[in-house]
């Protein structure tokens, strides 16, 4: 054991945890820690240009790699800027640790310069948080923070460290193993419940797999693919589960929910058994709850007991880590389930797919956003990670990109944070440098963290930003078209910067494209140059995301087309 300052403990703890990269922004209250970073180059530090971006980058890194992402910020405004990042990670159960500076202990509560009740603010948007009261307890708290972030239902953990604690000297005794009396997530599912679930599957006539983000967090996509193929039961994916099955898997009906495919939503509505593996019955998936899957019994596997039965009645609840539950369930299902049993059901769903396939009307006059996404897919399928911002472009990406693997699609689902995509794509690039990192964005979202052009250029993180530019805050504009009688209140974004010059002024490369040929040229050029790029794609101003289930409507009542 060695004696050292609290600040040194922070960097030593990063070494203990195998942290490769920290995204952050220094300031008064966290300067002692930054001084230690300067002295010991244990990990790379990426200086973002805004604290929100630091947390999103750590989040993107975590989503792409499955490792814990780390961000450092200072007290007061440094921390409050980071809150959106914490909330984004919390809603999607992403393991990150955010360390913030705080004013010295003796000044807490005095409204000191850059003081804010950080743990008071982060409490409802983190899995857990800590205010460190002495350097002595710092090693234990940091070890617990990493442990809590990555175990059980993962999530963000916030550690607030007063400045005098970072200066205080104490023994550094980093715990090798964490045991918390009050925190013991259930890992193995109940064997009897698993058996009953398998029996329910074997007896069902119209079962459907409802695949959620928990599959990605628990790294159980391989087991899911094995289960789906062995049983030949059709499957739908939530936004967070895109990539669990390959896009061309014949059993994949597509995405489910508000902008889900017709076949996926009808499968949910007509099924007699939902096999829910790691989803959380979000309102954007279920629509009107009283009409949701109303003929179905429900099996729900989730590591978080509070997710089960929160919104709908569950007939076969199984609490546990999906990977462990599936390792029990898959062999039993293979033995007991006769795939030919569901042939008529598959036939019905195939008709639904043929009746209303996911499609769009292409044009030679104007670029269609769906075409752009498909084109990106044709060029980069299987060798790029696709991040998005939030809005129409996000839904088009989720619908039309050919996903082949888990952790390929990086998107803010639960919180729906505009400005997430670009910094997240930088974190993705840092985590998976051998692959191309693309951010599909909109002309609204991209401006919400545009300052990160500087970070990306400085650290050579060649993110290709594809802006689907319709001069509108598109998704809100779409709702105004459908539900507000075309009163386009404050959604016209035709006042815009010159994105080409904007990119160039930061040292990146900009393109403005209006045709398919120009788009191909720009994307090829950006890929071959390996630079930070903004491709400003002028698209059809009035294209809508379809199908659409109006908020609060039933899944089976989809708007399939809109004619002016």
């Amino acid at each position: 054991m060695a004696k050292m300052s609290g600040a040194q403990m922070v960097v030593e703890a990063m070494r203990e945890e195998g942290v490769e990269v920290v995204f952050g922004y220094p300031g008064g209250a966290i300067m002692n820690v930054y001084d230690e970073i300067y002295k010991h180059r244990y990990f790379e530090h990426i200086l973002t240009r805004h604290e929100q971006a630091a947390v999103h980058a750590a989040d993107g890194y975590a989503r792409a790699t499955g490792k814990v992402g780390v961000a450092f910020v200072t007290s007061g405004p440094g921390f409050t800027n980071a809150v959106t990042g914490l909330a984004t990670a919390y809603m999607d159960s992403i393991p990150i640790v955010v360390i913030s500076g705080q004013v010295p202990l003796s000044m807490i509560g005095t409204d000191a310069f850059q003081e804010i009740d950080a743990v008071g603010i982060s409490r409802p948007c983190t899995k857990h948080n800590f205010l460190v009261k002495s350097a002595k307890e710092l090693p234990r708290i940091l070890a617990e923070a990493f442990y809590l972030a990555r175990t059980g239902r993962p999530g963000p953990v916030h550690v607030d460290i007063p400045k005098d604690v970072t200066a205080e000297i104490a023994e550094f005794d980093y715990p090798k193993e964490i045991k918390l009396e009050t925190y013991k997530p259930t890992i193995k599912g109940n064997a009897r419940q698993i058996k009953k679930a398998v029996e329910a599957i074997a007896e069902a006539k119209k079962p459907v797999f409802y695949l959620g983000g928990g599959i990605i967090h628990s790294n159980s996509s391989d087991l899911i693919r094995e289960l789906v193929h062995a049983t030949q039961i059709p499957a739908v994916e939530t936004l967070m589960a895109r990539g669990v099955l390959r896009y061309d898997d014949p059993l994949l009906l597509g995405m489910v929910g508000m902008h889900g495919s017709y076949a996926a939503n009808m499968a949910m509505s007509e099924a007699d058994l939902l096999i829910a593996l790691g989803p959380r019955f979000d309102d954007r998936v279920t629509g009107k709850l009283s009409e949701f899957a109303k003929y179905a019994k429900i099996i729900h596997v989730d590591i978080d007991p509070s997710s089960i039965g929160k919104l709908v009645h569950v007939d076969y609840p199984i609490v546990g880590d999906l990977k462990y539950v599936l390792s029990e369930l898959v062999p039993q299902a293979k033995e007991k389930v006769d795939p030919s049993r569901y042939e008529a059901w598959r036939e019905i769903l195939k008709r639904y797919e043929e009746l209303h396939p996911l499609t769009y009307e292409d044009s030679n006059e104007v670029l269609k956003p769906e075409w752009v996404i498909e084109r990106v897919g044709q060029k980069l399928m299987g060798k790029a990670r696709i991040s998005t911002d939030v809005g129409q472009h996000q839904m088009w990406a989720a619908q039309f990109y050919p996903f082949t693997r888990p952790r390929e699609f990086i998107t803010s689902g639960g919180l729906g944070t505009m400005g997430f995509g670009f910094p997240a794509a930088m974190g993705v690039k840092k985590g998976v440098p051998e692959e191309i990192s693309v951010n599909i964005s909109g002309d609204g979202s991209i401006l919400m963290n545009i300052q990160e052009l500087m970070t990306a250029v400085e650290y050579r993180l060649p993110v290709i930003n594809i802006i689907l530019n319709n001069n509108y805050l598109g998704m809100v504009r779409q709702w105004q078209t459908f539900f507000y009688d075309k009163r386009y209140a404050e959604t016209d974004l035709s006042m815009q910067p010159d994105f080409v010059k904007l990119a160039e002024s930061f040292g990146g490369v900009g393109y403005r494209v209006k045709t398919k040929e120009e788009f191909d040229k720009a994307l090829d050029d950006a890929i071959s140059k390996g630079v930070v790029a903004l491709i400003d794609v002028v698209i059809d101003r009035y294209e809508n995301v379809l199908p659409m289930v109006p908020a609060g409507g039933s899944l089976y009542n989809m708007l399939l087309e809109y004619k002016d």
Binding site: V119, P124, L131, K133, T182, Y183, P305, S306, G309, K310
Partner: protein, 155 residues
């Protein structure tokens, strides 16, 4: 169908733990009818007794969400329980203290202090009996009434 529920929560006795509990109730729109908290003797834990109400689904969620908080060791959902609540009140000395004392005794209580111009009385009983007691006390013109909230123990 609303129901009343008494829940005991055993929590690590650490900084900010009460805020985590009350914050959870506030954020998710759950009701707190009463809440008492005190350390458990010779341990690092405290015990909270929360009286709440809601539909069975809401009660189930409350219990699960409480479990999910990291410093929560145990959540006890009482069915067979003994509940007690204490009440303190100030009665003017002009009132007939013999009658006051008789009333207190009927509710496991007594006169506990006599000051310059008022007597302080206490009673400890089941919550619904405490409500009756307070009602009966009215004719003695109480100057102040302080209720403790419910404590409960499983039978």
């Amino acid at each position: 169908m609303e129901m009343r529920k008494v829940i005991s929560v055993i929590v690590l006795n650490e900084h900010g733990v009460l805020t985590r509990i009350t914050g959870l109730f506030a954020a998710r729109g759950y009701n707190i009818e009463s809440l008492t908290v005190a350390p458990i003797p010779n341990s690092k834990y405290s015990r909270l007794t929360i009286v709440t109400n809601g539909s069975p689904r809401v009660i189930e969620q409350i219990i699960k969400q409480l479990h999910k908080l990291i410093p929560v060791y145990k959540v006890i959902e009482h069915s067979e329980l003994v509940e007690k609540e204490m009440v303190l009140a100030k009665i003017p000395l002009e009132e007939r203290l013999a009658d006051v004392e008789a009333l207190c005794r009927a509710y496991n209580g007594n006169i506990v202090n006599i000051g310059v111009d008022s007597a302080i009385i206490m009673a400890a009983d089941e919550p619904n009996r405490i409500a009756n007691f307070i009602n009966a006390l009215k004719r003695f013109n109480p100057k102040e009434i302080v209720r403790s909230g419910v404590v409960a123990i499983e039978r």
